[in-house]
Every structure is written in structure tokens, then in C-alpha cells.
């Protein structure tokens, strides 16, 4: 017993010393700023910046090939710190972005085509008749996005739709890339009104498949004071889309939408039930005072 402890400890110590000397001898001179930047980066290696992990981004910043604001996960705090390290101006503050689900077809709202009993993965389910749900455009609800999110910001809600925690979401876009149905979008957090439907089918078909589908009635288009929402042709069909540059989140379209496909979401959390409660209280009168938070 005592020999085991001593001999292993001795082996470890010898290797440690040798490696210590080797480290001195083979030291590679790197820009100290790379290490400094690496320390302030979130370290989630989410790839939201477009570089291979945080170290790749740190290298690129020091090499001068990357902008300072590419780290969506770190938000403004990190951008300012990096600017400090690099000794340059931090630039304009950017609005935080979060992932939004463009589907509201939870398990009680859309019919099932068949009982899916395969692997708990949306990509696998998407290979079988496009989706286990009657609507082949919507969220499959097996939670692939919850697994790929490096920040643990997405959880499956009671209706088996992903709910994004806006406090944790950094807008890195990993979930967007990994969603086989392309129903997630990264959008500025201040945008409150979204078309929570991705169904391109004609009104009747869409409505048969899902209670809260966009039926292309154009009521939102007619009633929008900003001209920000319109039913546009897309792929083999059409759907209401919001021009987020024009949208003021007034919420008039939400009250007009006959199928609840449009929804207003307050940035309190991602719970759609909360949002539905607020909907009955005339959301277009919300002055975004923030008191409700």
C-alpha cells in the first residue's frame, strides 16, 4: 500500500518536473492579449461568432480579422472588455438578440398524423412524413433545440413546445441551425409581436392541421398602421411575415388575427401562457413602461 502511494506519487512528481522544464524550454511566444481576451469571453464555445470556439475568435480579434461585437453570447459587457484589452473604441451598443419560436402548434392544438415512437430527436422524426404532426411545417417538439443549446436557455414547456428563457438566451443561433423545421429565429429582444406560425399551406388546409395556423386572411396586413406586416409568397405557398424594421410592436394585428397565429410576447419570460393572459388585456395599449416586470 505504502509503496503504491509513494511510487505513483514519485512517478507523477518526476513527470511533472520534466514537463515543467519542457514548458519553459518549448515556450511559444503568444500575444498576451489572446489570453486576456479568452478570459473575458464566455467560454461556451457556441460558435455564434462564426469562429471555431472562443479561442478561434480571440485569435481572430488579435489578428484583426474579426469585429469586436461578434460575440453574441457575451453581449455588451464582453465587447467593452475586449475593446479595453485591444485599446480601441467599443463602438455602438447592440441590442440583445434572442431565439423566437415561429410556431404555436403545441400538442393540444395540432392533430397527430401518427404516434412517433422513435429516437427523441427532431431530425429523425422529420425524416418520417416530414413530421409526426399534421402540420408538416411546425415544431416537432422533441426538443433537439433544448439539447444543443450551450446555455441551457431552452426547455420544453407543458405543450411540448420549446420555451426560451430570455435571461439565459444569448442569440448565438445554434438552435436555429439545428432545427430541422427552421421554426426558430434569432430576433432583437425588444420585438414583441411575432407570427407564431410557419405553415405555408392554403388557409383551409392550414387550419385543419392546426388550430392556431396562419390562414392568410390578410386581416393583419389591412390593419397594420405601419405597413409592417404582409402576407407574402414563400416557397410553394404564402404566410404573414413581419418586417421587423418597421414593426413597432403595437399589437393591433394580434387583436385582429382570427386564429391567434400572431402573438405578443412580453420579455418577462418565455412562457406563452403568460403572454396569452396579457393578450386579453388589449396588448396594443401596452406602453412598454416595464412596470409589469
Amino acid at each position: 500500500m505504502i509503496y503504491a502511494v509513494i511510487s505513483l506519487a514519485a512517478l507523477g512528481a518526476i513527470f511533472g518536473i520534466v514537463l515543467g522544464f519542457a514548458d519553459k524550454k518549448f515556450k511559444v511566444e503568444v500575444d498576451p492579449r489572446i489570453d486576456a481576451i479568452l478570459n473575458v469571453l464566455p467560454g461556451a464555445n457556441c460558435g455564434g461568432c462564426g469562429f471555431p470556439g472562443c479561442s478561434g475568435y480571440a485569435d481572430a480579434i488579435v489578428a484583426g480579422t474579426a469585429p469586436l461585437n461578434a460575440c453574441t453570447a457575451g453581449k455588451d459587457e464582453v465587447r467593452e472588455k475586449i475593446a479595453e484589452i485591444m485599446g480601441v473604441d467599443a463602438g455602438e451598443a447592440q441590442e440583445p438578440q434572442v431565439a423566437q419560436l415561429m410556431c404555436n402548434g403545441g400538442k393540444d392544438r395540432t392533430a397527430l398524423l401518427y404516434n412517433y415512437e422513435g429516437l427523441e430527436d427532431c431530425h429523425v422524426a422529420a425524416t418520417m412524413f416530414k413530421s409526426p404532426k399534421a402540420c408538416s411545417f411546425g415544431c416537432i417538439g422533441l426538443g433537439t433545440c433544448t439539447k444543443v443549446c450551450p446555455f441551457g436557455a431552452i426547455k420544453l414547456g407543458a405543450d411540448q413546445l420549446p420555451e426560451v428563457d430570455f435571461n439565459l438566451c444569448t442569440g448565438c443561433g445554434i438552435c436555429v441551425e439545428n432545427c430541422p423545421q427552421h421554426v426558430l429565429k434569432v430576433l432583437p429582444v425588444s420585438k414583441l409581436v411575432h407570427v407564431r406560425c410557419s405553415n405555408l399551406d392554403k388557409g383551409k388546409e392550414a387550419k385543419t392541421a392546426c388550430d392556431v395556423a396562419c390562414i392568410k386572411c390578410k386581416l393583419c396586413e389591412k390593419n397594420c398602421p405601419q405597413g409592417a406586416i404582409a402576407v407574402v409568397t414563400e416557397g410553394n405557398g404564402s404566410i404573414a411575415r413581419i418586417d421587423y424594421a418597421k414593426c413597432t410592436s403595437c399589437g393591433i394585428c394580434v387583436t385582429k388575427c382570427p386564429t391567434n397565429a400572431l402573438e405578443i410576447i412580453l420579455p418577462i419570460n418565455a412562457n406563452r401562457n403568460v403572454a396569452q393572459n396579457t393578450k386579453s388585456q388589449k396588448p396594443h395599449e401596452c406602453s412598454q413602461c416595464g412596470l409589469c416586470q
Binding site: 511510487s7 505513483l8 512517478l11 514537463l19 519542457a22 518549448f26 515556450k27 511559444v28
Partner: protein, 191 residues
């Protein structure tokens, strides 16, 4: 001398570490996309294997067997291998940053490459002497390199081949590896 040549031929062809004994499959599939990085990886593994064989042999004889703590073999060997890999990583980072980038995560992963630990244990099991251990370690490194280079060569050509869409990438690589393994079984009767 003849014995050493036999060890080398046995290791490279008859008992090829990857294609016959199925050890070290991870870097075999991971670093075989480009011939140049395959050669670099082969060289790094050969270096680690040779040194690891020698040092684990010494550790086995002068520490583990001396103090009758052979049950610590696995952890002691892993300690040796991990230290060696760290050393190799430093050297490569210093002298060939490009290779360091090309090998990426597979370089520190040599630590957990079962080929290295496997060869170290096989040396002990076959009760090789010091010189035989060294030659066997080197020969197995060579056999890993040969398998890796052959495979990388084939995969580079596969890039231009007309592969069905569902078989592109890893599936066709795995089929290729299986065929190579079958081909290498043909050497079985050599010795």
C-alpha cells in the same frame, strides 16, 4: 536481428494495430481526411508509442513488479502516456504550428488512444525484453502510420468519387475501413 525484423513485419502487416487489432480507431477515422495531417499524426503516434513502450517497460520492471503493485499497471501506464503526449504537444506547438492546428483535438487525444496503452500492455503480456519492447513499440507506431496513410490516400480519392448521397462522408469511410481490414486479414498466414 531476424527476430526484430519478424516483430516489425508481424506488427505492420500481420497484426496491424488498427486494421487487425482494431485499436486506435478514433484518430484513424478522425485524422485521415488529408494525407499531410495523416503523416504528421502517424509520426506523433510513432514517437509516443516508442517512448511509451520503453518507459512503461521500465516502470513495469523497476517499480510495479519490484514492489508487487502490478494492479496499478493501467493507471501508471496512463500517467506515463499522458505526460509523453503533453511533451509531444509542446514540441509540435513550438516547431510546427500548422501541424498543431491540423491535428487539433486529436493530438491531446493520443493520451486516450487505446493503441498506445494496448501496445504497452501487449509488450508486458508477451514478456518481451527491453530491446524487443522498443522495436515492438516503434513497429506498432509504424503500423498505425501505414494504416493511416493508406486510408488517407484512399479517402482523398474518395472526395472526387461519385458516391451516393446517403453514403457520402463517414459511411463510405467506414465501409472503406472495413474493406481494408478484410484485405489485411490476407496477411494472416504470412508468419
Amino acid at each position: 536481428m531476424q527476430e526484430m525484423i519478424l516483430i516489425i513485419i508481424a506488427a505492420v502487416f500481420v497484426n496491424n494495430i488498427v486494421l487487425t487489432q482494431f485499436l486506435g480507431c478514433c484518430p484513424f477515422l478522425g485524422v485521415s481526411k488529408k494525407l499531410s495531417s495523416a503523416i504528421g499524426m502517424g509520426a506523433a503516434v510513432t514517437f509516443v508509442l516508442t517512448l511509451a513502450s520503453v518507459i512503461t517497460y521500465l516502470v513495469q520492471i523497476f517499480i510495479l513488479e519490484q514492489y508487487e503493485i502490478v494492479y496499478l499497471q493501467t493507471i501508471a501506464f496512463i500517467l506515463v502516456i499522458a505526460a509523453l503526449v503533453q511533451f509531444v504537444e509542446m514540441v509540435i506547438k513550438k516547431y510546427s504550428p500548422d501541424l498543431y492546428k491540423a491535428l487539433g483535438v486529436y493530438l491531446p487525444l493520443i493520451t486516450t488512444n487505446c493503441a498506445v496503452l494496448g501496445v504497452a500492455i501487449i509488450n508486458i503480456q508477451k514478456s518481451y525484453g527491453f530491446l524487443q519492447t522498443m522495436v515492438n513499440g516503434f513497429a506498432n507506431g509504424l503500423s498505425f502510420t501505414v494504416a493511416l496513410i493508406l486510408f488517407a490516400g484512399i479517402r482523398e480519392r474518395l472526395e472526387d468519387a461519385d458516391v451516393p448521397k446517403s453514403m457520402q462522408g463517414m459511411p463510405i469511410a467506414l465501409v472503406t475501413a472495413a474493406l481494408m481490414s478484410i484485405a489485411f486479414l490476407g496477411f494472416t498466414g504470412l508468419l
